[in-house]
């Protein structure tokens, strides 16, 4: 597909590219690249050693191949692992110093970086390609003792916290993509909420892949200390290109005693065109540890973008009485493929988890829920409830459910149910009769189908997500 065609493609409104000068690492994956990244970020030696350790581990790991959506082999030597807007290399101290073109980009994306920031009251950390460009609302947060900055800054300024928690949920030697991220991660967000603090505003990161031939490897680390609360939002977009770009992020959450973390994602990476050319490979590792008693981690995701989505935001329920939740909407259209779900691992006593997953499949897409619920022997009196529903539109798409359920003690209960159907024709007919056209009717019914999940999203996101649901399914019925 030529660039002009791409410009004419109106379906994906975030498909523009921004013309800013970039600094890139040497091409390919090597020790040299890792040293380059570490050097340009002026990292301390322990961080470089940590990366190299991951790199050495990576050499013996094999890329997993058990997933449902298959993809052509990725040439890891043909990628740039670091790409940064040139103007950011002397890190801006305030928003005024940021390249206006980047600010323009974020404005197009609708991110409240400058003028909207006071209205919305959302603190934003925006990640452009590989580096974090700006963090808003910093002063207000600092007063409360909340640390919200890029992970690179945290490595410099809060090494103790980073050393203590980085890799404690997703260890260096986890699976292939997580280890790759550990070796080459470029930036991301860092959040620390001190004890007994309720974060006064929603924290948010916006990820954007701009440069071509790059992969994005960001790393997010959120620590909620005893008795604290934070709600964190994440959004993503990328320009339209006819190549497949890799996005392999790691997100680690740690909730200590009585803490609560709410993590919401609206993922709208470029999904490829209607013929299945291009699009992002979204291979993300997200894992949260409810380490303390009575802690809670809640994942909410709306997955509408990406050529392939392959991720399982998980909860390790270590503390007694801890709670894990997972709410997901995954919409696939055209040739998109999704293999997503969650893992709930119950270790502590009286732990609870809840999984609500809604999969919608249209066109030639394949949508898969894969999940693990495991209640270990010592996790007495634990409970899980899982519901995964799939909606199919047309007979070229697929909807699949593969839950793994393991119950290992006599006092715990696991309930699982799943259904697969198509849109109810009577409901469609009813809507049509009331004057809604086919597309409006479908959008209404699908939004109703997803309601349980949409309700979990913070207000600002819920509106965006509802629109996304409608847009993603345009042209799929008719």
């Amino acid at each position: 597909m030529k660039t002009e065609d791409l410009k004419n493609n109106k379906e994906y409104k975030y498909g523009f590219t921004t013309d800013v000068e970039n600094i890139r690492s040497p091409k390919g994956l090597s020790e040299e690249t890792i040293r380059f990244i570490s050097n340009i970020k002026k990292e301390p030696k322990w961080m470089l050693d940590w990366r190299l350790k991951a790199y050495n581990r990576l050499k013996v790991l094999k890329e997993p191949d058990w997933q449902k959506p298959k993809y052509p082999k990725i040439d890891y030597q043909d990628l740039y692992y670091y790409s940064a807007p040139k103007s950011a290399s002397d890190k801006p101290k305030s928003l005024d110093e940021i390249d206006p073109k980047i600010l323009e980009t974020y404005k197009k994306l609708g991110i409240p970086l400058v003028e909207q920031k006071r209205l919305n009251g959302i603190a934003v950390d925006a990640v452009f390609d590989s580096v974090s460009v700006a963090t808003t609302f910093k002063d207000e947060l600092t007063k409360k003792g909340i640390i919200f900055c890029s992970i690179s800054e945290a490595i410099q300024k809060h090494p103790d916290l980073v050393k203590k928690y980085l890799g404690s949920v997703i260890p260096i030697s986890d699976h292939y993509f997580a280890t790759l991220n550990s070796a080459v991660f470029t930036d991301g967000s860092f959040v620390y909420i001190p004890p007994n603090t309720k974060c006064p505003m929603e924290l948010s990161t916006y990820f954007r892949i701009n440069a071509s031939e790059t992969g994005q490897f960001e790393r997010t680390l959120i620590i909620a200390d005893k008795g604290s609360y934070v709600s964190y939002l994440e959004g993503c977009t990328a320009p339209m290109r006819d190549e497949n770009q890799l996005h392999a992020a790691n997100v680690e959450l740690v909730a200590l005693d009585d803490a609560e973390i709410k993590y919401s994602t609206v993922q709208n990476w470029y999904p490829g065109d209607e013929k299945g050319v291009g699009g992002i490979y979204n291979f993300v590792t997200k894992r949260g540890a409810c380490r303390g008693k009575n802690s809670k981690i809640s994942w909410t995701q709306v997955e509408t973008g990406s050529a392939i989505t392959w991720k399982y935001p998980s909860c390790i329920l270590q503390g007694d009485n801890s709670v894990g939740e997972f709410y997901s909407i995954a919409i696939t259209n055209n040739f998109q493929k999704a293999d997503t779900g969650t893992k709930m691992i119950h270790l502590g006593k009286n732990t609870k988890s809840k999984i609500i997953s809604k999969g919608i499949s249209a066109g030639n897409a394949d949508n898969m829920y894969r999940g693990l619920v495991e209640i270990k022997n010592k996790a007495i009196n634990s409970r899980n409830y899982t519901q995964c529903d799939s909606l199919l539109m047309g007979n070229k798409c697929g909807a699949h459910t593969t839950p793994y359920i393991k119950n290992n003690n006599a006092t715990s209960t696991i309930e699982h149910e799943a259904t697969t159907t198509k849109i109810n024709e009577e409901q469609l007919y009813y809507c049509n009769q009331r004057g809604l056209d086919q597309e409006e009717a479908v959008s209404l019914i699908v939004n109703g189908f997803c309601k349980e999940v949409l309700q979990q999203l913070p207000m600002e996101f819920a509106v965006e997500a509802q629109k996304l649901v409608a847009i993603s399914l345009e042209g799929s019925v008719g």
Partner: protein, 414 residues
């Protein structure tokens, strides 16, 4: 446990040189992986290799031809029978039926039974299988009495593996109630590895029942591949409690319109018993139904596994498929694992599954106790109610009563 295999093809008599080389090839394929282990997705929850390593010092193929022909015949209802000893067909009786309507003979290894299973037990069976039977029911013939297949194993089998193949064909518009009766009370460890092909042709109906008679140290594996034609009906009832290890691997292909299939299973496992029901239902044609209900009661250190997959092809509109697995876990050392899968490519379908596992309802126990019923009996009553439910759909009254009685014996101890 690779070093302890003692598999010899030359123990098998009357083979042509061609057969020997084919069997050797299969044995080599088996040796490449050995017994399936948990790295194999299908064996994730039942690591047969380590189970065998922990319980067998060595394992050899059986060449022992049993002299015993005596066995206890079921006297609860009148029936035809086929009797196998260590897999070999030794006697048969179809005195209730018309002549020439039923064809029964030794399984002929020359007309190769091709099943496309890739697991290593399949290769091992190909390499070492002897015995087994072929059964064919003529067109338009409905058997007057049920057929019991006595799977007898002699008590002298020790650290042996018995491999055989069966083939069952129901021609158009025929009907059969088939009861696979596993009969062994040996204290020695041995393994059985059985492959069975079932063809249910147009308008036919097969009830396939598997029941284990007494507690034994048998490690049992049976793979059933079934193909269903138009308007056919295939029901399975699985009551295999008492076997030390069991994996029933059932593949049902609904190849033509309006065929129905169901799988019902009730297991009460004690001690270290480990049993798995694995199903794969392929909806290859429109308007077919499939129904599965798997119930487990897990005591002591037992482990129950259910892996079920429903596959719906894109042409298979109006499919109605259902899966339900329920488990009662009565001891903290017991475990229940489930993987109920749906893989669906057609939109106008009704597919759903449910899976629950948990403890027994203590309120119900309390209720029964308050009515003067001792705790142990209260438990037994609730377990009986929980498991016996799966027999409800069975229409044949005498068989139903017989199975109920056996199931109660499995629950209340032998």
């Amino acid at each position: 446990m690779k070093q302890n295999y003692d598999f010899k093809i030359d123990k098998i008599k009357d083979l042509t040189s061609e057969e020997i080389s084919l069997r050797k090839k299969n044995l080599d394929l088996f040796y490449q992986t050995g017994f399936p282990n948990k790295k194999d997705e299908d064996w994730k929850f039942s690591d047969l290799n380590s189970i065998l390593s922990n319980n067998f010092n060595k394992i050899a193929n059986n060449d022992f031809l049993p002299r015993e022909k005596e066995f206890k015949i079921i006297d609860e209802f009148e029936h035809n029978f086929i009797s196998l000893f260590n897999g070999k067909l030794i006697s048969k009786d179809f005195s209730y039926e018309e002549k020439n309507k039923i064809l029964i003979k030794n399984f002929d290894y020359k007309d190769n039974l091709v099943l496309d299973s890739k697991n290593s037990l399949y290769f091992l069976n190909n390499a070492l299988a002897t015995g087994g039977f072929s059964l064919e029911i003529s067109k338009n013939y409905k058997l007057k009495k049920p057929l019991v297949v006595y799977n007898n194993f002699s008590n002298s089998l020790k650290e042996k593996i018995v491999n055989y193949k069966n083939s069952i064909i129901l021609n158009e518009n025929s009907e059969l109630n088939l009861i696979n009766y596993i009969n062994n009370s040996s204290k020695e460890n041995f393994m059985a590895n059985i492959l069975e092909s079932i063809k249910v042709k147009k308008d036919s109906s097969l009830n396939n029942i598997l029941i284990n008679n007494s507690k034994c140290n048998c490690y049992f594996y049976k793979y059933i591949k079934s193909d269903l034609e138009k308007n056919s009906n295939f029901e399975n009832y699985l009551l295999s409690s008492g076997l030390k290890f069991n994996k029933l691997d059932i593949e049902i292909n609904l190849n033509e319109e309006n065929s129905n299939s169901s799988v019902f299973s009730a297991l009460n496992l004690i001690n270290k018993e480990h049993q798995e029901i694995k199903t794969r239902i392929n909806h290859n044609a429109p308007n077919c139904n499939s129904y599965q209900k798997v119930k487990n009661v897990l005591n002591d250190e037992s482990k129950g596994v259910y892996q079920g997959k429903i596959f719906v092809k894109n042409i298979s509109q109006k499919t109605d498929a259902y899966q339900l697995s329920k488990a009662l876990i009565l001891n903290d050392a017991a475990e229940f694992d489930a993987k109920p899968e749906l893989e669906i490519y057609a939109d106008d379908v009704k597919c759903s599954h449910g899976s629950t596992s948990g403890s027994i309802d203590l309120n119900s126990i309390h209720y029964l106790k308050s009515r003067g019923i001792p705790e142990k009996e209260a438990y037994q009553m609730l377990i009986n109610g929980f498991l016996c439910e799966i027999l409800e759909k069975l229409s044949e009254g005498k068989i139903k009563n017989f199975l109920k009685e056996k199931l109660e014996r499995q629950i209340n101890g032998y």
